[in-house]
């Protein structure tokens, strides 16, 4: 059966960030999320959740705030059936029910319903800006016109509401569940961020290099011998642990050097390659043939004109691609198998023979005896470090292990000294991953970004324990959306995690995939409510002035009257971003002009989700934003150049690359407008497949051909463009 809860749109973020709705008295007493709830006047005195069998009509009069009627449709008999209580009433059209505990809301069991488009749009915006609202994009937002015949006032008048009392045990359970959920998502997040040992070291080195080079760039590219020397050392360390270089060394040895019988001959061969200045080329070609991507730039020739940005960017993107490869080799974990939770939610246990100390730590510091929060940690760091030290000592002694001569004793006391007096502390001197994780959590745990940066800079490989501690201390509801987004965005694996957590905590599995949610607000079969809002606020303000403003910002008064007329015509006739660019060309603004390029750049920010909301308010048509993709397409992604700009150094090279990229993409259309010849002709790649794999392969060939082009000026430019790195990097983005 479907039930309806009516409330204010001011509560939308409250409800969706906690993924639940609760009796009013819960809010001020719970440990997480909002501590209050906006009531509607007619239900001001009711504490329990009031549910209706139909949506009653009601209004909210609030001249100051964006405060609009909202309803939640819930369809979850399994959850509600045992505790829902029907009230006595004489109105048979709309029945009223009461519920005295929280209702869990999932993307499958509910819809969020509004009576006006303004309310829907502003609510969606609020959810998208909200730090803690993690899953709002999966919930269905709908517009509906409620039946005015069923007035809330009349329905309430004809019923007798007898509420049951507030049950503190239910609230205590909710607090525990929130921490358990936080722990589980933290553990999984830690799993996704973990790396193999070598790659963790690689990442740590790259971070150090990044910092040094940022300092050099900030100083107008002026380095000194100390920085140069440190960078060379770091580069050597990097090359030692670079898995691609390791593979290359082994392959070179197996396929090339092994052909020589003596060491002397091997050395002679290497020397000859160097002497003829072909060593680099030979090895690069060898890499290509064996599908190994290595970095091209090195610090061997640092001089005054050394391109620090290019080196820094190449190292960053190369490291990211290795991290991506490393992570893709991991087998997923199953939280529901790895953990068990007792029915009273008092703690959680990792089901492993080696996890007894870990489980003790969890019980003692996060779930049962002492419950650490992030604020606690920030304010009482030394005290918490001391408690952990004493706790660990007690655990060791209870297992008949010697504390006094143990490395654990040295480690924890060194940690305490560091906190109290800023003495040196080496996290990598930890005896094992658990003690390392405890120390890292204590030092940086209240700030997730600082914690992850600390782990990366120190070359830590296993993040599971430390981030699970962070998750437990933070709780699920207060986990920031940006932190969880990397796992939420991987929808297929996230649904498994979501189900694992539900299975562990609520003994149910929801579904195999998230509901399909259009960016368009769904208009139900009932009449669409007419907007009764001030048209001045929501009129179809076209984006013309914004786009032109942005272009003018760059070009100032360089736009002529004639060009302005052409732009006006183009913007008035175009309805999508691709259209605008095509209309500009048709109206005489060539693709090679600064104006065109600026329009192109300005249109890129509008390729995101919020643009769809804005477009809805502006246009009466309901076109899907074609830039919104569930998975990225190289062919349609307007942001493709921005993704790889950092790999190309020099304005001239970038400009040429951009021109060639545009030509490449545009020539996949059936018709291509050649602005030089001023004619339309068949696209060079018309009819060819545009899936990522095919188009990137074609793009690779297209770019390589530039390198060997008979026009010397063009091939010279492409000698400085790292085509291979670009294509490899694109493959990691456009899968």
């Amino acid at each position: 059966m479907k039930y309806y809860i009516i409330t204010s749109s001011l509560n939308v973020d409250n409800i969706l960030s906690s993924e639940s709705i609760s009796p009013i008295s819960f809010y001020s007493k719970r440990d997480f999320g909002y501590k209050n709830f906006q009531k509607i006047d007619e239900l001001n005195v009711v504490n329990n959740i009031v549910l209706f069998s139909e949506i009653p009509y009601f209004e909210i009069r609030d001249s100051e705030r964006e405060n609009h009627p909202m309803a939640i449709e819930i369809d979850d008999d399994v959850q509600l059936k045992d505790n829902i209580q029907q009230t006595e009433q004489s109105n048979s059209v709309c029945q009223i029910f009461l519920y005295n505990q929280s209702i869990r809301l999932t993307p499958w069991n509910c819809r969020i319903i509004f009576f006006s488009q303004q309310a829907l749009v502003l609510s969606k915006l609020k959810c998208s800006d909200s730090l803690c609202n993690k899953l709002s994009e999966f919930y269905r937002f709908e517009l509906i016109k409620p039946k005015q015949l069923i007035s809330l006032h009349d329905v309430l008048k004809s019923s007798n509401i007898n509420e049951s009392n507030f049950n503190i045990d239910l609230l205590v359970a909710e607090n525990k569940i929130n921490r358990l959920k936080g722990f589980l998502y933290g553990y999984y997040l830690g799993f996704t961020k973990s790396l193999s040992d070598d790659v963790a070291k690689l990442f740590g080195i790259q971070k150090k290099v990044y910092n040094i080079i940022s300092s050099i760039i900030n100083n107008k590219g002026e380095s000194n011998e100390r920085f140069n020397e440190e960078l060379r050392i770091l580069e050597n360390q990097y090359n030692e642990v670079d898995p691609h270089k390791k593979l290359l060394r082994n392959l070179w040895h197996d396929k090339v050097l092994s052909r020589f019988t003596s060491l002397e001959d091997k050395n002679t061969f290497d020397a000859i390659l160097k002497e003829l200045y072909v060593e680099t080329e030979a090895k690069l070609n060898f890499c290509k043939k064996n599908n190994i991507v290595v970095r091209k730039l090195s610090l061997s020739s640092i001089n005054k004109s050394f391109d620090w940005s290019a080196y820094q960017n190449e190292l960053s993107s190369y490291t990211q691609s290795i991290i991506y490869e490393d992570k893709s080799q991991k087998t997923d974990i199953a939280l529901s198998k790895d953990f068990s939770v007792p029915s009273d939610y008092s703690t959680i246990k990792l089901n492993s023979n080696n996890a007894s100390i870990f489980n003790e730590i969890l019980s003692t510091f996060f779930f049962m005896e002492r419950v650490i929060t992030l604020e606690d940690l920030r304010l009482n760091r030394l005290e918490i470090a001391t408690d952990f030290t004493k706790g660990y000592k007690a655990i060791m002694e209870a297992s008949n292990k010697d504390w006094n001569n143990s490395p654990e004793r040295l480690f924890f006391n060194s940690l305490r000294q560091n906190i109290a007096n800023s003495t040196p502390f080496d996290i990598q001197s930890a005896p094992d991953i658990l003690t390392l994780s405890i120390a890292a959590f204590i030092l940086k745990g209240e700030d997730f970004e600082a914690l992850v940066r600390y782990l990366a800079e120190n070359g830590v490989s296993d993040y599971k324990y430390v981030i699970s501690f962070w998750g437990a201390a933070c709780g699920y509801v207060d986990m920031p959306k940006p932190t969880l987004n990397p796992i939420i965005k991987q929808k297929e694996s996230f649904i498994n995690v979501y189900n694992s957590v539900n299975s562990l905590l609520f003994k149910n599995i929801i579904a195999s995939s998230f509901p399909v949610v259009s960016d368009e607000p769904i208009i139900s079969k009932a009449e669409v409510v007419q907007q009764q809002v001030n048209d001045e606020e929501l009129q179809s303000a076209n984006k013309y002035s914004e786009i032109l403003v942005s272009v003018q910002k760059k070009l100032g008064k360089k736009i002529t009257e004639k060009q302005l007329t052409a732009i006006h015509k183009a913007l008035e006739s175009a309805s999508t971003h691709d259209n605008i660019l095509s209309c500009l060309k048709k109206n005489g603004i060539k693709a090679s002009t600064k104006i065109y390029k600026e329009f192109e750049a300005c249109l890129v920010p509008f390729a995101g989700k919020n643009t769809v909301i804005q477009m809805d308010l502006y246009s009466s048509s309901s076109k899907q934003n074609s830039a919104k993709q569930t998975s990225l397409s190289f062919f349609t992604d307007d942001n493709r150049l921005n993704n790889i700009k950092h790999l190309i150094s020099g304005d001239k090279n970038l400009k040429q690359f951009k021109t060639d990229l545009e030509w490449f993409i545009e020539n996949h259309a059936d018709e291509y407008f050649d602005s030089k010849k001023r004619i339309s002709q068949k696209g060079h790649y018309s009819g060819k497949p545009t899936d990522n794999a095919s188009i990137l392969e074609r793009f690779d060939i297209y770019l390589r051909n530039k390198n060997s082009n008979k026009l010397k000026w063009l091939s010279d430019i492409y000698k400085n463009i790292p085509v291979e790195s670009i294509v490899e990097y694109l493959k990691t983005i456009y899968k």
Partner: protein
């Protein structure tokens, strides 16, 4: 840093929530001290109005614009200008949002009002330190100019009470502590033999505690200016930069509040950022070091020192050689942290 630009609606106080939920059909002027959440609210109002009509956001400096750039991308906001940039085009928009409005003159405010149908101004008169272009307009006067009531954001969510207690004394400002919501560590006072030793100690603390969000704030830009105005070239960003660089310590620096300088800071690196007290305005760091606090400055620098101290969200370090400046309470004062002896467990 990404988290800073989203709003934790659940933790907002009533007044902050009022601004977020407020209808956007008329102009408003909002005042609030450093750390009251003005700038985040300004960005979110911009986000709301971006769905309703054309808009422009003006921040005072290029550094501020860069500091916000990540957040702006996350929020999908594009029309952000620093003032000198805005001057070149002055777009006519339905909504104009101005942050740090206390740094503009009456003429500049008037000019901005002429380009926006509905204007939202955010500022704090007590942080008005950019008076080199002429007398500035207070936030109250801006409210009077537009014909609206000035609405205050009362609480301070950045500054801790412990740091506020010291800032109140140094800045001779009232009610700072009362507005603070968070507790934290007491400020540390560090005594060393010389400026160079102070800088060495700063590096040691940053390294040993792995601090990744640090501001080192100095009174002067260049050695020449420091020498001519205070007789000590070491009181400058330039000197600190040279000292650290020759020691192989990676830092980033910004010389002046001039909006068009090329010295851009990389907020993705964990390098300490060295800049003047003025340049730091509008920014925030987890840890702020204010070296050379033995210097006696003229009274009109008091506000600038106060603003510098209030850049910290967590820890404040005041270092000096010889005798601590009269701006600060004595080193034995209970406002400062004391060193603890730790017993081995």
């Amino acid at each position: 840093m990404e988290d800073e630009f989203f709003i934790d609606y659940g933790k907002l106080d009533q007044v902050q929530r009022h601004f977020i939920d407020k209808k956007t059909n008329k102009s408003m002027v909002v005042t609030g001290s450093a750390g009251s959440g003005k700038s985040v609210i300004a960005l979110h109002k911009a986000k709301q109005v971006s769905a309703l009509g054309s808009y422009a956001i003006i921040v005072y400096t290029k550094t501020l614009k860069k500091y916000f750039s990540d957040g702006l991308k996350k929020l999908g906001l594009a029309n952000v200008y620093y003032y000198n940039e805005w001057l070149k085009i002055k777009p006519q928009v339905k909504y104009l949002i101005v942050d740090e409005c206390q740094d503009f003159t009456a003429e500049q405010i008037s000019e901005m009002c002429n380009t926006g149908e509905i204007c939202f101004f955010f500022g704090d008169t007590e942080q008005s330190i950019m008076s080199f272009n002429g007398p500035l307009q207070t936030v109250q006067d801006t409210a009077n100019h537009i014909g609206v009531m000035m609405e205050p954001l009362y609480y301070n969510y950045r500054l801790t009470k412990e740091n506020a207690m010291l800032a109140e004394v140094v800045g001779k400002v009232e009610d700072v502590v009362e507005k603070c919501v968070r507790n934290g560590e007491k400020p540390q006072v560090i005594l060393k033999d010389s400026v160079d030793s102070q800088l060495d100690e700063i590096v040691k603390i940053i390294k040993n505690k792995s601090l990744s969000n640090v501001g080192i704030l100095m009174p002067f830009n260049t050695k020449k200016t420091a020498n001519s105005r205070a007789g000590n070239m070491k009181l400058s960003v330039e000197y600190v930069k040279e000292y650290f660089t020759q020691k192989g310590v990676a830092v980033e620096f910004k010389y002046s509040a001039n909006q068009d300088t090329e010295m851009d800071l990389d907020f993705h690196s964990s390098n300490p950022k060295v800049m003047t007290w003025w340049c730091a305005k509008g920014l925030q760091f987890k840890d702020v070091f204010i070296p050379c606090s033995e210097t006696t400055y003229e009274e009109q620098k008091r506000t600038a020192v106060y603003v510098a101290m209030t850049r910290t969200g967590e820890r404040l370090y005041i270092s000096y050689s010889g005798k601590l400046s009269s701006f600060f309470p004595e080193p034995t004062n209970g406002l400062y942290a004391s060193t603890d002896e730790i017993e081995m467990i």
